[in-house]
Amino acid sequence: MGGSEAILFYIISLFVIAGSFFAIFSVKNIHALISAFIAFLNIGFLFFILELPFLGVVQIIIFSVCLLSILVVLLLLTRQNLEIKQKNNYIKFFISLITTALFTFLITIFIKIGVLLSDGIIISRVIPSSKDIAVEMFINYGIPFSFIGLYFLSAMLGLSVLMFDIKNGKGDYR
């Protein structure tokens, strides 16, 4: 990658990290959802930088559009007053921060060990096209793909069961 792509990568990474940070720490839930939208959109752009356009498009469609639409509807249905109650969470916050820092440090060490062990493996980049991915998925990964489809179908059935109003004995899909 050249200099311009590097600058683009840093800008997009900054948007990703800032968006995910504000998705956690912003006060209002609707601001958290907007920040999460920005983060997920920019992760899709990171896939484009990685030269995986198929994954980028899937990421933008599924995460940024579908899932966040579901979350906005969820926010409206649960009638949140859009504020989070902060109840002296500072000690818990600092303990969590220290735990996360330790966790990050440990993962960094594991990545470093893994990179050292696999030093000769990183060879060169071959860019898969969408057609290659589709052929690979439907020929060599047909069975896992079918299982994913069955899992999705059973999830839809489970969703219908969860939404069924048991007390009144009739479907209440709200």
């Binding site: 956690i24 990171l46 198929f54 994954l55 649960t78 980049r125 690979e136 939404m163």
Partner: protein
Amino acid sequence: MDYFFNIGLYHFLTTALILFAIGFLGTIISKNLLRILISLEIMFCGITLNIAAFSVYCDVSHFKGSILALFVIILLAIHVIIASAIILNIYKFKGSIDIENCGELKE
């Protein structure tokens, strides 16, 4: 200086690691179920980015990583749909989606 302008595997891994750490932190400290769901999504995004980066830089002829990342995205979509249904039911019975009101199983 060369390290900063030659984007490689480590840069993507670092971004994925930061994303995972932020999602983990949010999962621990949040009390709102919706916020916890967003944190889990961010964690999964970090995992997907990690898998995609490894598939691009370490996999020469096969596309296992890309297909695995695609499966992770689909599974996350299923997970969010089911979690939304569970959160709606919790709201229906409890009147709020604060996790402090959902601790009856531990009693």
